[in-house]
Symmetry: C2
Amino acid sequence: MDTHKSTLEEVAAAAGVSKMTVSRALRGAPDVSRATRDRVLQAAERLNYIGNRLALSLSSQRTDLVAVVVPSMSNIVFPEVMAGISNGLEGSGMQAVFGITDYDVAKEHNIIRDMLSWRPSAIIVTGLDQPDETVRMLRNAAIPVIQIMDLDGTPIDFNVGLSHERAGEEMARALIAAGRKRFGYVGSALDRDLRAGKRRAGFERVLHEHRLAFVGQRLGDTLSSVGLGKYLTHQLLDAEPKLDCIYYSNDDMAAGGAFATMEASRTDDILIAGFNGLELAAALPVRIATSRSPRRMIGEVAARLARGSGTTDNPSSGKITAFVPEITGVA
Amino acid sequence: MDTHKSTLEEVAAAAGVSKMTVSRALRGAPDVSRATRDRVLQAAERLNYIGNRLALSLSSQRTDLVAVVVPSMSNIVFPEVMAGISNGLEGSGMQAVFGITDYDVAKEHNIIRDMLSWRPSAIIVTGLDQPDETVRMLRNAAIPVIQIMDLDGTPIDFNVGLSHERAGEEMARALIAAGRKRFGYVGSALDRDLRAGKRRAGFERVLHEHRLAFVGQRLGDTLSSVGLGKYLTHQLLDAEPKLDCIYYSNDDMAAGGAFATMEASRTDDILIAGFNGLELAAALPVRIATSRSPRRMIGEVAARLARGSGTTDNPSSGKITAFVPEITGVA
DNA sequence: ATGAAAGCGCTAACAG
DNA sequence: CTGTTAGCGCTTTCAT
């Protein structure tokens, strides 16, 4: 077993043909005789040949790479989006490359820059709130830019997601229609998670329209987690015993809220409302309200758009794909 | 704003120097005059220059890429490992590239092959149970191979993880020592998740040593989820009302089990035991037993080993890094 | 059906 | 401190 990475040239020598013929045979080009192809394949096999994509991509001027930039990994939502992208790319010969920003704008800029240096065929980024400098860099890359998850803003190119402001509004409307009157809010670091902030803003706007307001709220300064949601809910319940509904920044926080109401024996009079429609939320022993975000689908649609950049011309399927999350568990 | 990707050569022309000088200036080489450097930097800025890593890597024969292959994305454990790797790589100039196998051995082989074609500087793969063919390919790549999560088997090169057989054994011992006697088991598709199978085997071995056995069990045929754990637990509780402890394939399943015992008002007499030490498990309204897997740490250690391949020679820190998960919630 | 030449954009290795 | 030459491993294009 030689530990030396073999090249096309070596396979060519072993098969007694030229580099070009090996290249063609390995890629399954039609104009190679069966006999030659077989000899080449055997030689490649014997030498444990693995093509060098750096050389391939540099030479052919295409990488078939799809850069994907997400803010976090600790919220299951983004891994699910990534899984959707991976899945949607399958069979296309394209490869996703992921970068994580930790909700940090400066880090996001650098990561995008790094990714662009690999000359991806398309790039998928989370949200519409990149600073001008980043937008300029993305525009300049001259590849399809696919912004996902959020719809509230001005897209650079393609946009796949949902309006978080509207999601917040609709949830507020549904809860009010169901008779809820005294609302609380529990959230995590909203300055980082902009989309959660948009949902809260939409929710609050509708409250105001109905001459209502959040009676009490608790904001954490870390990222969302079940434990944080539980902790803050206990605090809020102590401070405001008369709430009949609490809106959360997302389902992780809401699950914690559900646990808190269980511990405080308040499950009968307080309705917990979250966002995402996590698998966990549906399995809880108490019903909670949530909006199902089609995150896997968003990933798959984004992948399809990215594939468009791999083949011939763009399928010119709409530049904007809007989803409307379904609300469950309110009544 | 020109949409054309500029090259070193163009920056060189704009700055009135040679390609080489630009290359040096951009990389911050020490032997470039301040004046020249400034002119180059300005020219690069003005042209929106972004280096081409394909060319860089092909020329310098190093990619500083770390290939990472994990089985799944829907179990939060792997995103956490990936976050640990990303984190551990930060500041090293190395970039992680992720691939997902869906617990499919054939897919894993192809993904590894694809990743190797990018000539990564190191590769991190999950588990020790790759088929011979895959092992041969990995050996042949002549880069550090870092196998993570599992310790039960023969590593190719570096190994970072824990013994799942022992984790199962230790949990069984702890539960028996705490007085539990009538055990049930609830798991997901064990033929896919080999590590869960190893934990179960270790657990059962200790039961046998104590002349005990699983009184009843339920195995799902899909991947683990909270809902599946809940569903199977309800079934098991109906079939075997006299259990005093149920061991689960992991904490997701165990959380579902906890919900089921809550719904069945059996939280007082049945102890739920899982694996991983998820954040969720700690926040549940009922105590459950679990072993904390140091998954983030595993990612960070793996990243450190991968970095070793980027710099000079290997720090030769032990080839095997073994963790022993801490058990909580038993008593 | 096969091969030869040129070049993708960069850096290594030498000059000077 | 700066420039020149060669070449990384492959594909493209043009011959034959």
